[in-house]
Symmetry: none
């Protein structure tokens, strides 16, 4: 059902080497930078597959572009994203989970899902702005 092709391997490899979220274009450049030749569409298709397989996290940057990163925790979690440099930190969101559940129950809603992301300026970027 999921073939391991030369292209997929190359994409998975750069993804594994990358600590940060990357756009599809960045991944594409990185793959080609390593000498492999992979179509951009294939990068998108591979990311789609891995996202729905739960192997990759996806979020949107301020410009609305999708960014991907390998999942470190397969459980559902949230992110704190620096507006300026794009660095991300995973956050323990137990509180939000609880909150979502209890609010849902209070309103007699079932099957609660939620979205929650934090954006801010990280300490380094805040320092840079002073100059």
């Amino acid at each position: 059902m999921q073939r391991m092709t030369r292209q997929r391997a190359a994409v998975v490899e750069v993804l594994a080497d990358s600590e940060e979220f990357r756009t599809a274009q960045e991944l594409h450049d990185m793959v080609r930078g390593q000498g492999h030749s992979v179509g951009l569409a294939t990068v998108y298709r591979t990311m789609q597959a891995m996202v729905s397989a739960g192997e990759v996290d996806v979020l949107r940057n301020a410009e609305g572009e999708a960014m991907y990163r390998r999942c470190e925790r397969t459980e559902h979690h949230h992110h704190l994203l620096c507006r300026d440099c794009g660095r991300t930190e995973e956050i323990d969101a137990a509180l939000v989970e609880q909150w979502a559940e209890s609010v849902g129950r209070a309103h007699r809603f079932s099957n609660i899902e939620h979205t929650a992301e934090l954006f801010g300026t990280c300490a380094d970027c805040a320092a840079d702005e002073d100059s």
Copy 2:
């Protein structure tokens, strides 16, 4: 420096009537639904202007589209949406606000903003599904 035209007035009006975040397309439809004729590009240009003037908040939905809402001086709130009938309930989000603040502080991020929405099935729709 900023002229008040018929078009701009129409956009500002629908924006003022709307409690929720709206895409540019939605605003465009709403304006035309009220009988005015305004170009889509004008909606975008008006939103750009109002965002940089700090009169409008902008965020990206899951599909990466920009959504706009008038800036509320008062504390912002979140919503619980029914997946089936679309009804929305306003929820007291004091807990999330606190959570966002404290998580940001813990990671030494400043200027924290956040997005958080809940989705579920309301009691009425859950009952309908049983039939």
